[in-house]
Symmetry: C2
Amino acid sequence: MEKMALHKTSSDGAGRGPEVARLTVRDLASQAGVSPMTVSRVLNKRPDVAPGTRERVEHIIAQSGFVPARAASARREGRHGLVDLVVPALDTAYSLEIARGVEAALEPTGFRLVLSCTHSSSRDLARQERMWLAKLSQGRTDGAILVLYAEQSRRLGELRRRHIPFVVVDPVGDLGPDVPSVGATNWAGARAATEYLLSLGHSRVAFIGGPLQQLCAAERLSGYRSALDAASVPEVPELVRPGNFMDDMGYKQTLALMELADPPTAIFAGSDSQALGAYAALRELAKRVPEDVSVVGFDDTLLAPLVTPALTTVRQPLAEMGRFAVRDLLRLLDGKPLSSMRVQLATTLVIRSSCAPPGRGS
Amino acid sequence: MEKMALHKTSSDGAGRGPEVARLTVRDLASQAGVSPMTVSRVLNKRPDVAPGTRERVEHIIAQSGFVPARAASARREGRHGLVDLVVPALDTAYSLEIARGVEAALEPTGFRLVLSCTHSSSRDLARQERMWLAKLSQGRTDGAILVLYAEQSRRLGELRRRHIPFVVVDPVGDLGPDVPSVGATNWAGARAATEYLLSLGHSRVAFIGGPLQQLCAAERLSGYRSALDAASVPEVPELVRPGNFMDDMGYKQTLALMELADPPTAIFAGSDSQALGAYAALRELAKRVPEDVSVVGFDDTLLAPLVTPALTTVRQPLAEMGRFAVRDLLRLLDGKPLSSMRVQLATTLVIRSSCAPPGRGS
């Protein structure tokens, strides 16, 4: 098992965000101008609260991000808790890796992992999102770990209003200082990959990336640029090709890149899938990896060591991210504060066989 | 979506096995020599039954395979049911595919998918198996879908004694006529793959397979042999290499095969992972796929279309197997009989780019 470096980040400059779990019922009562008993009644959905009062208290609870210690009470009741893992789809090694980490971390706790996808085969996204939200909100969950395609601030607000603690894994947008999340050091990973290609002697290094509205994709592009800057290699706009993370995109962009008058000698792809798309395009053009073109991926999913040549890639510790999310969620469930609302786990460059110095092929 | 052919199999030659769900409480009562009310009390774990009587009735229930209509009562109570999916590990595309099918089929039912692995990181298999069995047995599950490494007849008997309905996906051994299972037509798939290689003109076709004590591996070897027989191509013992389904095995066996005085011109691998191991070995030997050696895999997991050259493989409909298992489980949960205790879904040969006629490379 690799060692794990932990990078704490803070979005409010004060070194920590508002730590929701430190709030007490007494704090909420004082903010709402009611007794702690009334807050407690609202939290327990008891009927003996005036509707106007209930609404005011619920509003303050929702604003505050207060998370009741659900698990503690669940454990007192002697029943096994349920933790939901919500992933976009089960058709990628990416989802598999995160699920593996979540499962392994939950296994010894007595909590059971409930798995659902927001995007299943029917592709009626809106309906599916409503369904899982409804399921989560019916109170049969103790907490949720969320992997989301989009930012979904409104949905997250809904969970908060219903006092369901959650942690976001690999956030795609800036969720604000009070949303717990676990990500990876995308910037540092992209910088390390680019530096590695530059160190082999490549000066025309292409970047095929994900959609730039996604935080991770923007961070990776920024890391790539930073490495070029540091090596005083000017950025060439035609070599920078954001798109999406799928293999098709890697394939198309590689074909386009290789048609340039001065094609790249190395390609840094934003995902392993894209890198395999690049492999396919290069083979079609009778270019060898790594003799003619070097390729680096990002993720280190189960594909990377299995392909030929084995893929050099930036390891995103997806399973560990799942494990950290569980750890944070268990703290929230116990009513304890998080030491950091946003955690980024270190990426590492895994060197295999898909890179070589330029000019070997000629 | 491909069409699905359904092959019903029967192990007792009479066209159907004992159909457990048709048994009524009255049948059990008559077998046990007690009143239906007493059987009902035992099923509902009521205290007002003499210990000796309870034991006798429980024994008869366990022997009979009787499954009470749990889901119906769960639905009457208005709560959402839980269906457990138990897989060996979450480190293969194989598990991912099955989970995807199970999730998609459960999503519209209101049942929630609880995921657990028998083999997680700690590798203390015995303890983990006890743990998930304990979880399943605590009555917080409505039913289970099981993907098992080993035959586990004893564990399955335990579930049956506790009246937890279950369906086995891709059974590794002969589980007897009264265990519901969903598999794939391994024999037909292997025969089709071998016939395809023979039809391209190969006569030295190697077979790298899984462990022969596993039903699917034995069926695939048998399908391979059947195709050779039908084409009057004699089987060459040194070309037949069972082992396990991992990529390492594919790699090692391919290296060994290519060292033969008369090496094969085509390799039929028992899994996609093995096929990718073969790719790696062939590259190391500077042999091209498919110009020098053709390769066929088995499974058609997400790896197959992504690798270069894209892998020709036998599609095992893993997601569909998961969906069928859910369908059968829902019938058992409703107290309805299964039309067939053992179902095999059709495999299909998916032709991509890893095969060519022999002798192209020279």
